[in-house]
Amino acid sequence: MTRFLSRRIVELVVVFLGVTFIVYAMVFTLPGDPIAALGGDRPLPENVVAQLRAEYHLDLPLWQQYLHYLGGVLTGDLGTTFTGRPVSEAMASRWPVTITLALSAWALEMIVGVLLGLAAGLRRGSILDRGVLLGTVLATSIPVFVLGVSAQLVFGLELGWFPIAGTSEGWPASYVLPAAIVALYGLSSVSRLMRGSVADTMRSDFVRTLVAKGMPRHDIVGVHVMRNSAAPVLTFLAIELGYLLGGTVVIEGIFNLPGIGQLLFESIRTHEGPTVVGVTTALIVVFLVTSVLVDVLSSLLDPRIRHE
């Protein structure tokens, strides 16, 4: 276990360095001068520009800039925005919104997806099974913004059930629509995975043995099939949580939820380089930590993985 874990952590560090460097290079070498943009229509005096460049290390070669930034990250400093605020402070007010949205959507995905997948997998070829399959294909084929805007119109404006923007009504009212729409996409994958996994398990020898010895069907399904088909679904759900915590740019934008995704998108649009890099770094850490947890979890569930 220790060897397995240490190998994974070494890999993780390599990936972390790779991703952060790519993001850093993309943000700071692509066209668009953020310092010049700070002054708006009136160009900033040359000495101010030079001082700002020195302050944000923009006058150094790229690799030195990156090292400066990396040094900051290692001491827990995600950088300073061009307006002088620490990036972590800019993120602090955004986290609760994104975490609420992510967890609501995730819970919906898990409950509805597992139940639908189980029902479809147990009765392959039935109307329910076909319905689930068709539904999942349809759900993944409609762009998220089309669903978002339609849901706003129908449930928000026509029926008046839910607010269509902002978080003023708090959880759950303000989060129902966005979470349901985000969940719909992950739900498709969860139910498909669960369906395939359940169908495979139902065909396995041990289930045939259980049937043969006369175990009641609900015990077979509830105890044995569920447990044996859960592994791939759990892995997916854990990775999905990592992604959801990265904020869903589109949904946060449509429903005007001030979350991490929106912060990231705004800062990309305004060439707010340090914020983009800082937020991305935080997200990558969240994502990588989840993926190690997934590995540990699945190696605990299935010893074959850690002895690979």
Partner: protein
């Protein structure tokens, strides 16, 4: 002689089995027919639009702004008074172009890197595995947004290249896995024993036998890319005027959805039908290639 048989027999048998499975599925023919129609539309949008009403998507009459479907405009007009149908038909070309170009680029990269990693293994495999990890490590949309946001001129080709740059790793992993599982097969060992070069083994024996599942996923991916393009365009970092695309139509329509819902409904209908057909086709091919799913 024997190698000739090995090279041609194996894929041929697989193809026949797949064909026998898919041709009995009505959904296979439905999605194929839908995609056929869309390809014809993409090839000749002008004449088809002329048949159904307004031939020119850029001939707009502001006095007819936001008209619901009616005479001369089967899908109505948008907020600028342009014919929605003509725009939808011309947009088909852009969407299919981006979907197919991106997927083709990804396939090329994935085949090269995936085959090298899967066939040779060792250090090459480790380097490529880390590289794919890095690209899978951050949300796909994020990278595309960052790059496209600083692009001076966002043409369909540029959007396709950027999308490809961030979406090849999934396919590369798939190719690697697929190649690895074939690498140990008896016929590959036989080819080694006969003293064939690596190039010949890979091109003649390994790839033909590992391409199936990859192509099935690539079909599905075309649909995903089309959705991704429309999402980027909706966010304002994708295609721009004067390009005609479903994404652009939808992103304008969103603002006027309450007064002119048809401007949102028709483009999204076309988009959904296209993507559903591609996903269905990919799913059916994947099922047919999986021996467990074959009847």
């Amino acid at each position: 002689m024997s190698e000739h048989i090995a090279a041609t027999e194996a894929p041929a048998v697989a193809a026949r089995g797949v064909w026998a499975t898919v041709r009995r599925r009505p959904l296979f023919w439905t999605s194929l027919a839908a995609l056929g129609v869309l390809l014809v539309v993409a090839a000749f949008p002008g004449p088809i639009a002329a048949l159904l009403g307004q031939p020119d998507p850029r001939a707009c009459d502001l006095s007819l702004s936001g008209q619901p479907p009616g005479d001369g405009h089967p899908f109505g007009t948008d907020i600028q008074g342009c014919d929605v149908l003509a725009n939808v038909l011309f947009g088909t070309r852009t969407s299919l172009f981006i979907g197919l170009t991106t997927t083709a680029l990804c396939l090329v990269v994935a085949l090269v890197l995936g085959t090298v990693a899967g066939y040779f293994g060792g250090p090459a495999d480790r380097v490529i595995a880390r590289l794919t990890d890095v690209f899978l490590g951050f949300p796909f949309l994020l990278g595309a947004i960052v790059v496209l946001n600083s692009a001076p001129e966002r043409t369909p080709l540029l959007v396709a290249v950027v999308l490809a740059f961030f979406s090849w790793p999934t396919l590369a992993r798939l190719v690697r896995g697929s190649v690895r599982s074939v690498r140990e097969a008896e016929f590959v060992q036989a080819a080694h024993a006969l003293g064939f070069s690596h190039g010949r083994i890979v091109l003649g024996h390994v790839l033909p036998n590992s391409l199936g599942p990859v192509l099935a996923i690539a079909t599905t991916m075309v649909g995903g890319v089309i959705v991704a393009e429309s999402t980027l365009t909706f966010l304002g970092v994708g295609l721009v005027q004067p390009t005609i695309s479903w994404g652009l139509q939808l992103s304008t329509a969103q603002t006027y959805f309450q007064t002119a819902p048809h401007t949102l409904i028709f483009p999204s209908l076309f988009l959904t039908v296209t993507v559903v057909s591609l996903i269905m086709l990919g799913d059916i091919l994947r099922d047919a290639l999986d021996p467990k799913g074959r009847s």
